[in-house]
């Protein structure tokens, strides 16, 4: 009776001790010693044994806690965590969540009219919702892992920025152009990677994103290089400027001018763009091309055997996703008024991808909630700027371990056989996608 818990505790302590020892070696030099280049170029160093000790202690304590949690709720509790009553409640919530969220989103500028910070944050979240939905077409529906999505965002942003500053074209002319150009680049990227699958595809798209960024940095005559493009015109309300002048919208409507008008306009603009993305995606899923995307995601070989043209299927997926990225980019440029290559790093691609994956790859609502959680979470860590990406990376790893299919892990094909048939497990173990 007493012997069993005793061995449990000893093994527990032993594991924790070993983990702490590993942590000690790992952190010994990287954390325990801090180097810095002095003014004369010589390296100096000082020790930080206090931090080292607390980190190792944290690992020791943490592994005890994790081990205890694993023993108590791990093997048995995993399936039972959500009782049936809560599950039916969840489905009830699930049915009304989308309309409720939509109504709330539409009302955000009314509720938070005076809080500029919240409006700005909401615009940012919606931009990422749109990017997430755009990438969802490529990753979630067609199952093509794209690590260079930010390239299309950049193409859209630079298309608008350069056309507007060089030729003075208005936002409403440039917006479709930015989408078309981005889609064109999507096809251009799509062609060479048609034969690639999975990991290779991911790396090539990553390389493509880097190429676009490096060209933007180095092609100084066109893009201004690292200095970026500044003085990008703000959007107008279909030709009527949103400023303090006599021509402005406020003067014409006879109301007092306020800079918030423009923010509210931007908010509804990105909301409309995001909803357009969502609507197009939902409609496309019901068309033959959408079905073909899902078929491609589930099994490429079977897809080809059934006579689906995988070339056009992949290219349209890339082009559609890229087009929405281009729209979002044009919006980004007009909102910021300034763009530089720094906004289009691999980190952005990874962030958007993380949103799609966290959202459950294919679930529209999941992507929106994930964008809210991610960007909101980033804002919470605003004060701890340096730790932000560290936490981001850790959460990506933990989410993959905890729920590899995303928080809302629902990815049912739009069409399926109604009669369930048992199939041998070795037919599905490869886990295509």
């Amino acid at each position: 009776m007493t012997a069993k818990p005793a061995t449990g505790i000893t093994s527990l302590l032993k594991t924790a001790f070993i983990n702490a020892l590993i942590a000690l070696v790992l952190f010994s030099l990287m954390v325990g010693i801090r180097t810095e280049a002095g003014s004369d170029g010589q390296l100096t160093y000082w020790t930080r044994f206090g931090e080292l000790a607390s980190l190792v202690g944290a690992v020791f304590g943490g592994s005890i806690v994790i081990e205890l949690l694993r023993q108590w709720i791990g093997p048995t509790g995993a399936e039972k965590l959500v009782p049936p009553a809560v599950q039916s409640g969840m489905s009830f919530i699930g049915r009304y969540l989308t309309p409720a969220l939509l109504i709330f989103t539409v009302l955000v500028p009314v509720i938070f009219y005076d809080q500029r910070y919240i409006l700005d944050l909401a615009i940012l979240v919606l931009t990422y919702v749109m990017l997430g939905w755009g990438l969802n077409v490529v990753v979630g529906l067609a199952g093509l892992l794209d690590l260079g999505y930010v390239a299309f965002y950049a193409v859209g942003a630079y298309s608008y920025g350069l056309l507007a500053t060089n030729f003075g074209w208005s936002f409403w002319i440039c917006l479709p152009l930015a989408g078309i150009l981005a889609a064109f680049w999507g096809v251009l990227l799509g062609f060479p990677v048609l034969r690639l699958r999975g990991d290779y595809l991911a790396i090539v798209t990553l390389a493509f994103g880097e190429i676009i960024r490096l060209v933007i940095i180095n092609w100084q005559e066109l893009t201004g290089g690292p200095n970026g493009v500044s003085g990008i015109p703000r959007p107008s309300f279909f030709g009527i400027p949103l400023d303090n002048s006599d021509e402005g919208l406020a003067a014409r409507l006879g109301i007092e001018y306020s800079p918030t008008h423009r923010i509210v306009f931007l908010f509804y603009l990105i909301l409309a763009l995001a909803l357009l993305t969502n609507w197009v995606t939902i409609r496309l899923r019901r068309l033959p091309i959408g079905r073909a995307w899902e078929a491609l995601r589930e099994d490429e070989v079977a897809c080809r055997a059934l006579g689906i043209n995988t070339t056009t299927t992949k290219l349209t997926a890339f082009a559609t996703g890229a087009m929405f990225g281009g729209f979002a980019g044009a919006f980004f440029a007009t909102r910021q008024g300034f763009i530089s290559p720094e906004s289009f790093t691999f980190q952005e691609s990874a962030l958007v991808l993380a949103i799609v994956v966290l959202g459950g790859m294919g679930s529209q609502l999941g992507v929106a909630l994930a964008a809210l959680a991610m960007i909101g979470g980033f804002e919470l860590f605003r004060g701890l700027e340096t730790y932000r990406m560290l936490v981001f990376g850790m959460s990506m790893v933990l989410i993959m371990i905890w729920r590899p299919r995303g928080l809302i892990g629902h990815r049912a094909p739009t069409v399926y056989l109604t009669k369930a048939e048992a199939i041998s497990s070795d037919l599905v173990k490869e886990g295509h996608g």
Binding site: L29, R34, T35, L43, I211, L353, Y387, G393, M400, H432
Partner: protein, 305 residues
């Protein structure tokens, strides 16, 4: 001609460093079938640990350079290998039977963790070290005064790479561990049935890959005289390009691809433009994958239903 010869030397040295990193990619891909996206950052960690060890040893008053180098090499290999082991244990092992993209995404997350960990722990500024290994040989001096230089550090990089490759080839082809690794590469289930400890073999793969990356990090530190927290990203993609170019899964291919990428990058910088050297390297990755998806020495991957 002299200019060409000098660039050839520079390219081979750079290529050796890429090759050492590429081996880590190709080994892991061969056995586990995933791209270890964090491998470039393991290389960066190796460089940092080497730097910190250098600083400590010098402040302790050691002056014998061979002793310092040996200690730094061993320490950075050992600690970086432990990093490789831990990363596999935390981020990849739980996902081994998950769906295809899960380990890749976890690896991307791990890459962010490592990059930002070293930024938080060691600061964002570039860390330079004074040149340790100086001097060299003048191979040839042409009439117009252009000199082909072969510095001692270049010799050291190439010699170390060759020695390590010899040890590594022996390890893979002659030892029990190497046999287990090759068995796991062919069929993990069958290998497990025949008594191979698959988990341990995969762990050892990561350990060896990380140790080689640590050597590459040390070489980079000595050759360029600096490390920074972001160097793993670009070096990682280039080394991956090297692995793909050589044929992923093939060990000699990784080294060959590394040399090719090093040479291409150096010649591109020398004859075309320095700014676009990374673009050149990445474009090669795309071109290779279109026309030669199996690389130079790789086996064709048969798609099974």
């Amino acid at each position: 001609m002299d200019y060409f010869a000098q660039q050839l030397i520079n390219g081979l040295v750079l290529g050796s460093i890429y090759g050492l990193i590429a081996i880590g990619y190709t080994m892991v891909y061969g056995i586990v079938g995933m791209i270890n996206f964090a491998h470039g950052d393991v290389f960066m960690i190796g460089g940092f640990i080497a730097l910190i060890t250098f600083v400590i040893l010098i402040s302790l008053g050691l002056t014998a350079i061979p002793v310092i180098l040996l200690v730094v090499l061993l320490v950075s290999m050992a600690i970086t290998a432990l990093y490789g082991w831990t990363i596999e244990r935390i981020a990849y092992r739980p996902l081994r039977h998950s769906f295809r993209l899960a380990p890749m995404l976890s690896a991307i997350g791990m890459s962010f963790v490592l990059t930002n960990y070293s930024q938080v722990a060691q600061g964002a500024r570039v860390k330079p070290i004074p040149p340790f290994i100086t001097g060299g040989y003048t191979l040839h001096e042409s009439a117009d005064g252009f000199v082909i230089q072969l510095s001692n550090i270049q010799i050291m990089v190439v010699v170390t790479t060759i020695v390590l490759l010899a040890i590594f080839t022996w390890l893979v082809s002659r030892t029990r561990l190497g046999r287990d690794m090759r068995a796991c590469e062919q069929d993990q289930t069958m290998a497990a049935l025949l008594g191979v400890d698959v988990d341990r073999t995969i762990s050892m793969t990561f350990v060896i890959g990380a140790a080689l990356a640590a050597v590459a990090g040390l070489m980079y530190l000595l050759y360029y005289g600096l490390v920074d927290f972001f160097m793993g990203f670009v070096a990682g993609i280039k080394a991956f390009t090297a692995a793909v170019l050589g044929g992923i899964g093939s060990l000699p291919g990784a080294m060959l691809g590394g040399l090719a990428i090093g040479l291409i990058e150096t010649f591109w910088s020398a004859y075309f433009s320095v700014e676009y050297k990374d673009v050149a390297a990445f474009s090669i990755l795309i071109v290779v994958l279109i026309f030669m998806p199996t690389g130079l020495l790789g086996r064709p991957e048969v798609e099974k239903v």
